[in-house]
Symmetry: C2
């Protein structure tokens, strides 16, 4: 019997699942709509029958050891999804309690970035690290902190919200109603806003002078930077400055061995890693200088969230 | 036989020691000069003979279970004191290795603020807390972070340097050569600098218009604030603003149950706690609001560093 874990990644539109072994081989995966069933109960029924069907389609004999799920605002301690802005279930959703009605298995929930941190630790590039951080750069900025080999959940299960560090007092407006949060600068929409600020501020020629705000994507910015577009290059320089300066403060908190960058914007590679590293170093206290690696994540992006969620099972069961 | 631990607090001028039982009763304590013996070896000989004499003077039968020491830039992992600016031993000092030549006992070293955190956990107000932070406000700003019941040492043993968060980019000059570090604003010298900035900026009457920079102390500022001196009150308001805003970012990292304030400036009580709490709350992400307590340390300041250092023994021996 091959021991496997089910990983589930709950997103605003799709919920992905995978059945993964201890070595990180995904035996089968797929997805269902998160929104087709309005009520949680209906959604969980569809999710269960889909997973069960997938499990029986695997030719090897398997034993499911547990289920791990990642969701926006997922709370590890309580197994709840709390006030997730992109999900249709409102308020505090007792996800684990409800899903336990369908499965008599160990079940764990956390947020997406924490799941990515655990994936990095179990299957990725942080296998031998006890102290590291993962920064997920997508439509927002998520983060997972690992200290002494354990994920930092904090007193309430919500620790590791580096996207909401205030990096520019009175700065850009954030969907949370606050201003100057890191994710309004360092994320796919953040770098888009930076490009538009630069287009307004400078007289530099740029291919983006003929692009609307809604047309612009982070991918277009990295493509343009690679071709030498000065506005695009400067946008990456500034993004790295914002991120690097903030990470210097993060290092003063937990002094990690490495900081992994993951997700859409991280795919720009050295365009984002080089300025981040340079600005972090120039803001570090001497005792921390030239010690902290900035690395691309070792998880491939396809299915990384599902992999991370499944890794939560191995981590928590101590396998 | 009563089990006891030796606590040692190495300061620039004096080195204090105490022999402490598991309940936090200090059976005897005293101090020696840190500077009279130029070499580490001579210092350790005097320290050992002083501790031995103190131990024999205790009437109860005791068994010393270990020795804990706190020192500026003390490294828990390596047992070294590294580039401590206020100590006459230069470079990297192998403190534990050298002291082990004198005692065949478990021996632990950390920095002063980490020792205070452990003291708070073992004897103080954080006995039942798994996630908390201590901020020590003296001539500098030190900090100790506790996550999942364990001290955060980080990859290199130097984590928890919140005094060196950059809170004002390009701000006040710091002894480290950097600018805008939190401890240049939030510490005894920091609030003194704030008073002088306010004297320069405003036209407000203040008793400090007749006081020189070198005469001014943090104690004078809290005394004046209690009497209603507007400059002094404003200085506490600003100090709380700087600290509270920074702590909001710290909460986003580790989401602690409580943040303890300890040391000289913390003795100002609500003068510093109230504005710190208010500014922290107004900068917190919604999920963290009204959850994190700001509390005075439960350690009495007399001997707190020695107590913390002794607590390191109980913590590490798992007693």
């Amino acid at each position: 019997m091959k021991e496997v874990a089910v990983g589930i990644d709950i997103g605003g539109t799709f919920t992905k699942y995978g059945i993964v072994d201890k070595e990180g081989n995904c035996l089968i995966n797929g997805s269902i709509s998160t929104t087709r069933e309005k009520e949680l109960d209906g959604f969980l029924k569809v999710l269960k029958s889909t997973i069960d069907k997938a499990a029986t389609s695997i030719k090897e004999a398997i034993e499911i050891k547990g289920i791990g799920a990642g969701a926006p605002n997922g709370n590890f301690y309580k197994g709840t999804i709390e006030y997730a802005p992109n999900l249709s279930w409102k308020g505090i959703v007792p996800f684990i309690d409800e899903f336990k009605k369908h499965y008599d298995l160990p079940m764990f929930l956390t947020n997406d970035a924490n799941a990515a941190a655990i994936g990095e630790m179990v299957y990725g590039s942080a296998k031998h690290m006890k102290n590291f951080i993962i920064i997920t750069l997508g439509t927002g900025l998520g983060s997972g902190l690992v200290v002494n080999g354990e994920l930092v959940y904090g007193h309430d299960g919500f620790a590791g919200e580096l996207g909401h560090l205030t990096i520019v007092p009175g700065g850009r407006m954030c969907a949370t109603g606050r201003r100057g949060s890191m994710e309004t600068y360092v994320s796919a929409p953040g770098i888009r806003r930076t490009v538009f600020e630069l287009l307004a501020d400078s007289l530099e020629e740029s291919e983006f002078r003929d692009v609307t705000f809604n047309q612009l994507t982070a991918k277009m910015i990295s493509d343009a930077a690679k071709k030498g577009d000065k506005i695009a290059l400067q946008a990456f320089e500034l993004t790295g400055k914002y991120l690097g300066e903030a990470l210097a403060d993060t290092v003063a908190h937990t002094s990690p061995e490495a900081i992994f960058l993951f997700g859409g914007l991280a795919n720009a590679g050295q365009l984002i890693i080089e300025p981040t590293k340079r600005h972090m170093e120039s803001n570090l206290l001497k005792i921390f200088q030239n010690k902290v690696k900035i690395l691309p994540s070792g998880l491939t992006e396809t299915n990384a969230a599902v992999m991370g969620a499944s890794a939560l099972v191995w981590k928590e069961l101590g396998n």
